[in-house]
């Protein structure tokens, strides 16, 4: 099979195909969308769905081929580069290529992105079938996949930034997909602007890196932003590694919705649910983690930056989990959960466990995408209802959705043997092993909360008494096949995905960690773990029991005793109020930043600075002065021709005067 492919396609072409197939899909669907704007579109839907799904599937197959090719490399590192397609920006002392690189990290990420992406495209074909903007939707989703794969496979930092901004754009377009609703359009704008803050920090880091690379004496005939070149000169980053790391991290904070720039992600749930699954759970939001792992050789130079990352990550992990407890919108619960889980990944990065972060990033994308797809299936079945208080008992009506959701929930809760167990365990164990006990404790508490909120969700939606209206409930049925199949495949991955990284205490070996570990300087230099396996086992078991208890508790309360939470919330009403209002973060931003800036711009800058001061004093004033002179008064006030003549007269006088000199 591979032989056949090799005979016809070069490796380079295959790598390019991974990226450009979705772009072709986007172009095709974009063209359909433009050509049929305002006309009957039903005819085109089959074609749109076919091409829209085919492109990601082929892209995934290409990545898969690459994967099997690269693991076949026996000697040397399993990586391949395309070389530059063309030189994009060339200046006198540097240049930026457009080229791709496949190595362990980007390959794993690309597998996940294209695989989950393909599944969600298929799911979307069912979910969005009745939407009138079907072609536009697929165009934007394909375009997203293009930019995401570009971000992942880029061989240099600036090209990665292109993907980085591109996914932000697609996120903006897809959040505001139903733009008739002002709230949704606003959510899109909010997401773009907050991401823009991060992008600017990213840019700042690029400029600082440029300064470093220029000073390092790297050959200006090669792309100095190339990851490999940068890695070779990594020592030169030491003097300003903290600044660069913190700027890059700020970019990641915005993209991956960490405190304090997390506010866009819950609002981003305004987009169609498959979009939330793909962009706002599985792929784009993890780009921040990916970028840092990719650039780990800069981050390890700055212990300070790493501790900042650890603190932000830990705080976000617990913050997101707390907010998910009191939220009632099914998608927003999952959004807060995503924020929290991303916090875990940054926590891992902060303590230097890059490959654990990457591991959790991959696993999380499986189960979180699945959770969203299940949520979408529920919303689809209930005709757009998103409030979990109006659901319940759905497992009898939609068993596949319910049981796949349960698998994902078990994975999120980190219960053996689901995938999330291994990845979360890897993070928490590393935190403990490296002596960050406080971080471990908070992560441990957060694990309990995660189990609780996800089973609260499961209990409220799928178990217990139905809370929806009787007619609605009666009509509920399982979703169409195109939606169910991706869910089942993702459920398999959520259940078994952890096997790629079984820790030593279970007699396995962390394939993924070892594979990616080659790329990570810190983990190369670290001596192989000789800490006691006993301690690891005990902690693991404790953590799992802790999570399991909370899972059962959450499920019990919300499936059986739904009046309890109300009573509890009444008892702790001040705390509850703060949680329900998300610690008032949005309100504080509005009050402290947005309103003052708009007020200042409108009333000070515009009115005073531009309208009164300069106009009044300088312009009208100067014309008054001219009026006093008298000669020019007519020019300032009378008709056009006089003006013109006078103007030339002055010019002539000056010229003559000067000639006389």
């Amino acid at each position: 099979m591979l032989e056949l492919i090799y005979r016809h396609i070069s490796l380079q072409a295959l790598i390019w195909a991974v990226v450009f197939l979705p772009l072709l899909g986007a172009a095709f669907n974009g063209a359909i969308s433009v050509l049929t704007a305002g006309k009957e579109r039903a005819l085109y839907k089959q074609w749109t769905a076919f091409i829209g799904c085919l492109a990601p599937i082929l892209s995934f197959l290409a990545v898969l081929t690459l994967f099997f090719t690269l693991i076949g490399f026996e000697a040397g590192t399993p990586s391949a580069i395309t070389g530059p397609l063309f030189k994009w920006i060339v200046s006198s002392d540097f240049m930026i290529d457009v080229g791709l690189k496949v190595d362990q990290l980007s390959l794993v990420m690309a597998l996940m992105v294209s695989g989950v992406g393909a599944l969600i495209h298929i799911y979307s074909a069912g979910y969005m079938w009745n939407d009138e903007g079907f072609a536009r939707y697929f165009a934007e989703l394909n375009l997203f996949l293009f930019f995401m794969l570009l971000l992942v496979l880029a061989d240099n930092l600036v090209l990665m930034f292109v993907g980085w901004e591109g996914v932000g754009l697609c996120s903006y377009l897809l959040i505001g997909y139903w733009f008739d609703d002002p709230a949704k359009a606003k959510a899109g704008t909010k997401a773009f602007i907050i991401n823009r803050i991060g992008d600017v920090c990213f840019l700042g880091a690029i400029f600082l890196i440029f300064g470093v690379m220029k000073a390092s004496g790297a050959d200006s005939a090669v792309d100095i932003f190339n990851f490999e070149t940068m890695g070779r000169y990594s020592g030169y980053f030491l003097p300003i590694s903290t600044a660069i790391s913190l700027l890059l991290f700020s970019g990641a904070v915005a993209k991956s919705a960490q405190i304090p720039l997390h506010v866009w992600l819950p609002d981003a749930m305004a987009g169609p649910t498959p979009v939330s699954a793909l962009i706002h759970a599985a792929t784009m939001v993890t780009a921040g983690v990916y970028m840092i792992v990719r650039l780990n050789f800069i981050f390890v130079l700055s212990p300070f930056a790493l501790s900042v990352i650890a603190i932000v990550g830990t705080a976000t992990a617990i913050y997101g989990a707390l907010l998910a407890l009191t939220e009632n919108n099914i998608k927003r619960i999952l959004a807060y959960s995503t924020i929290s889980q991303l916090g875990y990944m940054f926590l891992a990065i902060g303590i230097g466990a890059f490959s654990a972060a990457a591991f959790h990033m991959i696993i999380h994308s499986f189960f979180k995408a699945l959770l969203f797809l299940c949520a979408g299936s529920v919303i689809f079945a209930l005709g757009g209802e998103e409030d979990i208080r109006k659901m319940g008992g759905l497992k009898d009506r939609m068993p596949v959705t319910a049981w796949t959701f349960m698998i994902a929930a078990i994975a999120l809760a980190g219960i053996f043997p689901a995938s999330g167990f291994f990845s979360k365990d890897a993070i928490l164990w590393q935190a403990y092993e490296r002596g960050h006990t406080l971080i471990w404790v908070i992560g441990f508490l957060g694990a309990g909360l995660s189990s609780f909120y996800i089973f609260r969700l499961a209990g409220s939606v799928f178990f217990g008494e139905p809370n929806s209206e009787v007619e609605v409930y009666k009509k509920v049925s399982e979703s169409p096949i195109s939606m169910v199949v991706p869910m089942m495949l993702l459920a398999t991955l959520s259940a078994l995905g952890g096997l790629v990284g079984v820790s030593e205490i279970f007699g396995g070996s962390n394939h993924l960690g070892l594979w990616i570990g080659d790329l990570i300087q810190d983990e190369i230099s670290r001596a192989p773990g000789n800490t006691s396996q006993g301690a690891h086992l005990i902690l693991t078991v404790i953590t799992m029991l802790w999570s399991a208890h909370f899972s059962i508790l959450g499920w019990l309360i919300y499936a059986q005793k739904r009046d309890w939470p109300d009573r509890i919330s009444r008892k702790f009403s001040p705390v509850y109020k703060v949680l329900v209002n998300k610690f008032y973060v949005n309100e504080i931003y509005d009050l402290v930043i947005i309103r003052p800036v708009i007020w200042f711009s409108r009333n000070i800058l515009w009115k005073v600075f531009d309208k009164t001061l300069i106009d009044g004093v300088a312009v009208e004033g100067s014309s008054r002065v001219i009026g006093v002179i008298g000669l020019l008064a007519s020019a300032a006030q009378s008709g056009l021709l006089q003006h013109y003549l006078l103007y030339f007269l002055i010019g002539a006088v000056v010229v003559v005067a000067c000639l006389a000199l």
Partner: protein
């Protein structure tokens, strides 16, 4: 033919004037014919300047030189010559002339003949400004531009056109007078208006400061730089669309080009002295301009204000005196011209449908005119500086260069990058998204053929320059290098001791 070949620049510059002469003898009721002739001339100009830009040798030397003594007694020559940046600007002039004529096809229905004559005269002036190597000639062409523009605003403008035109001319007169006086003084010192002799001449420190200040103020008014920008919102928004396009697309670039070509390389000492001050003004323009644009209620004024931050980036790129940044600034002059022209054209299209420029009276436009909305979003993304679209390469180079020498200033400019996104996205949200305002259930017609003819070239340029800026950049590199060398030669011109004495 041989004559044209040896006087190719003259032929290009005076082709529109010839067209204007043809128009004068045509009866004014032949509106369509007048428009077609103007359009044909603009297309010829695009081809001619495009070919020159294609074949120019990117060595940084001036090419296609024509030099004839004009007033020998005063050292004034008819001296033309172009390098990559001048040709890029001439190409931009031709392109925006084409866009302006198409935009005015329906919009200008009164005194069509006069309008097109003025437009063509204006084109001659603009082309001349960008190809003069003699300062006096430059000045003559400079004036040649201002007067037709004054009439275009004053006659075909909006409700408040007279006020706007007056403001425009007052600023302009003040600036030009200062510039003229300074030029005459400098020429008296060097004995010639030849720009090359200005480059070579060693002006004393105090001369440099005064001459630079006088000349730069005139350029700063055109750009416009804070605090000389209060004419901008009135003129840009009262002018007819073609006028706005040329004001923002070309006249503003005449200012930055003047700084680049005349003021900065001739008076390097003054640049060294004033650069921080001017960069701060540019930064104020970037931040305050964006904030003021953000709170505008009128769409056209918003786009008008949005020029200030973009031009601020260009000024920043010039005054950090770095090869990368200067190359970026030059690329950005073209990019901003294209983007802002497309935006002005788009809002004119919106106006022709909605009959209003008030943002609050719009809304839901993406439902009634989906393609127009999509194009508007694309062009806005270009203005925001999305990578892969034209503005990114320029802004990237400017900021990259600025970061190396003026890190703090560059970091402040980065805030502007966010703010530009804020006002553009916010206005998109308000005019295109949400429920349709005004209860108009019937569909407004989407783009028509003529409008596609305007927008497709703009979109093509936005995308092509975004993907392959190299084609242009490679022709700008050497001019940028020369510019930086000339502008940085403080020590070469005056011994350090004398420099200290003069402080």
């Amino acid at each position: 033919m041989a004559l044209i070949n040896s006087h190719i620049l003259t032929s290009i510059i005076f082709l529109p004037l010839l067209g204007a002469l043809i128009l004068t003898v045509m009866p004014s009721r032949w509106k369509v014919e007048i428009r077609i002739i103007s359009l044909v001339i603009s297309i010829l100009l695009i081809i001619a300047t495009g070919v020159l830009f294609w074949i120019i040798d990117p060595s940084g030397e001036f090419d296609f030189i024509e030099r004839v003594a004009w007033i020998p007694a005063l050292g004034i020559n008819y001296y033309l010559g172009v390098d990559g940046i001048s040709l890029l600007m001439m190409l931009l002039v031709s392109f925006l002339l084409f866009i302006s004529i198409l935009v005015s096809w329906r919009e200008i229905d009164k005194r069509v003949k006069g309008f097109h004559i003025l437009l063509l005269v204006l084109a001659t002036g603009m082309l001349g400004v960008f190809s003069s190597l003699d300062v006096f000639l430059f000045y003559v062409f400079w004036e040649f531009v201002l007067i037709p523009m004054y009439f275009i605003i004053g006659i075909w403008g909006g409700k408040d056109r007279f006020h706007a035109a007056t403001k425009f001319i007052i600023y302009t007169v003040l600036g030009s007078l200062l510039m003229l006086v300074a030029m005459i003084y400098a020429a008296a010192q060097t004995g010639s208006f030849d720009l090359m002799s200005w480059y070579a001449h060693k002006f004393t420190a105090s001369e440099q400061l005064w001459l630079f200040a006088a000349i730069a103020i005139s350029f700063a008014i055109k750009i416009p730089l804070v605090p000389l920008c209060s004419w901008l919102p009135d003129s840009y928004s009262e002018a007819p669309t073609a006028g706005s396009i040329l004001l923002a697309g070309i006249l503003a670039k005449m200012g930055s080009y003047g700084l680049f070509r005349i003021a900065m390389p001739s008076f390097p000492l003054a640049v060294a002295k004033f650069s921080s001050f001017i960069i701060i003004l540019a930064l104020i323009g970037i931040i305050a301009g964006s904030l003021i644009a953000m709170v505008q209620d009128n769409l056209k004024r918003l786009i008008a204000y949005s020029s200030i931050p973009h031009m601020g980036f260009i000024v920043l790129g010039l005054f950090v005196v770095d090869t990368d940044a200067a190359g970026g600034a030059m690329l950005q002059m073209a990019n901003h011209g294209i983007t802002t022209a497309a935006l002005f054209a788009l809002i004119a299209m919106i106006y022709s449908r909605k009959k209003t420029m008030v943002i609050d009276e719009m809304g839901g436009g993406a439902r009634s005119m989906p393609i127009l909305a999509a194009v508007f979003i694309l062009i806005s993304l270009s203005a925001i500086g999305l990578p892969g679209l034209n503005n990114f390469a320029g802004e990237f180079l400017i900021l990259l260069g600025a970061f190396q020498t003026q890190t703090v200033f560059a970091a402040i400019a980065l805030i502007g990058v966010v703010l530009i996104a804020v006002y553009m996205l916010w206005v998109i949200q308000r005019i295109f998204f949400g429920k349709q305002k005004g209860g108009e259930a019937e569909r407004v017609r989407d783009l028509g053929f003529r409008e596609y003819m305007i927008l497709i070239p703009c979109i093509a340029l936005v995308v092509v320059i975004g993907l392959r800026p190299q084609f242009i950049l490679s022709r700008l590199q050497k001019p940028a290098k020369v510019f930086v060398e000339l502008t940085k030669r403080v020590e070469m011109i005056i011994p350090a001791s004398e420099y200290e004495n003069n402080r």
